[in-house]
Symmetry: C2
Subunit: 252 residues, 2 copies
DNA sequence: CGGCCAATTGATTAAACTCAATCTGCGTGG
DNA sequence: CCACGCAGATTGAGTTTAATCAATTGGCCG
């Protein structure tokens, strides 16, 4: 499981633009394509902590590419229960397959301070018309997103609390590694135990106790927000990930 | 070939081709577009009950459009636990955003006898190039699929057993209605309680008891596989669906 | 008539939740 | 610089939802 590795270097310098870096891990991006992509991401905006970027029911007319920071897709139930549907990390696109029916069925909120780029949907059509390889790579992003959500479903439906935590930590380590934000066996976890509980469908108390147990078992260690995967092999065994996530771990 | 056994030869809309019918609910499909789409779906195949169409780890080179029958996307864990990730209904596309990275991260299996059409990925590119409105409608299908999976996540993570069952029944009623396979307040449920438990992340025993309770509460009734939604208003109240699913119930 | 699978039912167990305190780190106003 | 306040983390105790285990029943098919 190589996250920062040499394969990427073969394709050229890893870009400091997360989306480019992510695509570069899958395809070889030409200079022209890179320029075009960078041109898409000109229109930057910044939002602070805990701010809704999109609210359930909103019509949204634009796509967003997260440049830095963490955000959530989430939904609130009537009585206040919250489910975090997925975590948005740098390089992720919000509203990639946007179309004329634009009503959001869930909200998106920043967890940390975030910088993102606004992209006009027409520009994405442009990619389809002019850059077939890039277009295919965007399809890959769509499929990947779907796969991740599918795994979240497995996690919530059939994993124990112990397995859920491990499975999530591996997902995050993998995804962060893809954009150069994780080390070989550690990363910065920008989530409170409250957030974790709403991702994993558990109570905060149980998340706490499960993290304790994982630490005691020597699988992980946590200092403030810094997570170290102490025994990756055993973690992978616990998490029961699809083969495809392991064979080519850095690219899913 | 026909789900209900009777041939419905309508010359005007709605079409008896589920995918066309689904798209027709969102956009106005021109004659030319309809012909093109029908041309895509020439290459039919039939599989029997409980047969894997795609297996986790497979490379798949083709997309599939389900014409009739029910199927599952699912994943098996080492010890035999199964999570059904989503149900595939007539008109649904498997592998819509296929690209050169084609390793499946989950399996797809028929629940009933199924007829589906094989579609070459290049034909989908053709749609993008030649039929922008159709292409946008396919994007809608992608987004819709994602929204459904997002709701599944909420269901598994933050709903009680009681809410989960209701939420799923409403999802299925909605989706089946879109392709003309549901009545106003009832539909044929092609799932065993075992299947339900693996969708909902519950044990079969608990699914059984929950169905009993829903029946006793006058919310639903079930005869063999035929489900009647006895009190849609209360069901909707219990399920806590996103507004967007309600405002335009038939089209999500 | 068996045999098999799913549905049903009862009894018991267990994973995870709720409730109720602290405790701790940190930012803010005085 | 320090007290205060707040949110998140930690801890203990008791409760509940849902799982497990173990039969039994019912329907269907060869």
């Amino acid at each position: 499981m190589n996250v920062s590795g040499k394969e990427i270097a073969l394709l050229g310098e890893p870009s400091d633009v997360p989306l480019l870096r992510k695509l570069g891990a899958l395809i070889s991006v030409s200079g022209e394509e890179a320029e075009f992509l960078k041109g898409l991401l000109i229109n930057k905006a910044e939002i602070s902590t805990e701010t809704d970027l999109i609210r359930e029911g909103d019509e949204f007319r634009s796509s967003f590419v997260l440049e830095s920071g963490w955000a959530f897709r989430y939904r609130l139930l009537e009585d206040g229960r919250r489910q975090i549907i997925g975590i948005v990390l740098p390089g992720d696109v919000i509203g990639l397959n946007i179309n004329f029916r634009r009503t959001a069925t869930y909200s998106v909120q920043s967890k940390t301070k975030c910088v993102f780029a606004l992209v006009e949907p027409t520009r994405i059509l442009e990619i389809q018309q002019r850059y077939p390889v890039l277009s295919s790579a965007l399809n890959w992003i769509t499929v990947r997103e779907f796969s991740i959500l599918a795994e979240q479903t497995v996690r919530l439906g059939r994993h124990t609390a112990y397995e859920r935590v491990v499975h999530l930590l591996l997902e995050l380590h993998n995804r962060l590694g893809l954009v150069g934000l994780a080390d070989d066996d550690s990363f910065q976890l920008q989530l409170s135990q409250i957030d974790l509980s709403d991702i994993l469908g558990l109570s905060t108390v149980h998340v706490y106790r499960t993290l304790r147990r994982l630490t005691k078992d020597g699988l992980i260690s946590i200092q403030s927000n810094y997570v170290v995967l102490e025994d990756v092999d055993r973690l992978i065994e616990v998490a029961d990930l699809p083969e495809a996530f392991l064979e080519d771990f850095a690219v899913l």
